[in-house]
Amino acid sequence: MTIKICDVAFEPFTEIQNFQNPLTLEGKFGATSIFIGTMRDFNDGDDVQAMTLEHYDGMTQKQLAQIIVAAKAKWQILECLIVHRVGDILPNEPIVLVAVWSAHRGEAFEACRYLMEELKTNAPFWKLEKLATNETRWVAKNTAKVKGI
């Protein structure tokens, strides 16, 4: 189970390959489910030219680790990889990668979806958009379920 916070652009399929190659899962996994989130050049009806992702270093990793523990308690996950960008990001660059390896597709699909939704709800990241007009604005809402504590 690996969590990576990247302050430079990453290539998700290379990350997946590099993570999977040294694993001793040959013959054990029948399913790999992958989610990749990529930056758009539009949001809320406006053109967006760049974005800065801030995070709470330390709490991000702690929350993601807790999310993985919760997912492992729900499903038979063999491995998982979470990669998330921080810093300055341009449209078309990947923001987030979640990949799950399991014996069967149902667990892989469900765990991947769960990890992604929990990441959006709990991981302390914030997006500052730079619009085409050169104005900046903080993204104020996310599409995950409302956090209840």
């Binding site: 709470y56 709490m59 923001i95 987030v96 959006k120 914030w126 993204v139 104020a140 996310n142």
Partner: protein, 76 residues
Amino acid sequence: MITIRYFASLRETLGRSTEQLEIFEPHTVLSVWRLANPDLALPENTLTAVNMDYVPLSNNVKDGDEVAFFPPVTGG
């Protein structure tokens, strides 16, 4: 001594990202906010954490803790 952290739009509003306070009596997360920001009500929807775990405003704060205030998260 406790450490207080602010992030994102809240950090910009306050003009600071971190500060340290001596506390001499029992505190909660909410009373720490009031001590550090006597002229500003805690913005609605602010999320709060102690030692990097989410906690409610009523959570106790003890010497050595790191208390964080931040707006709703928008990662992914």
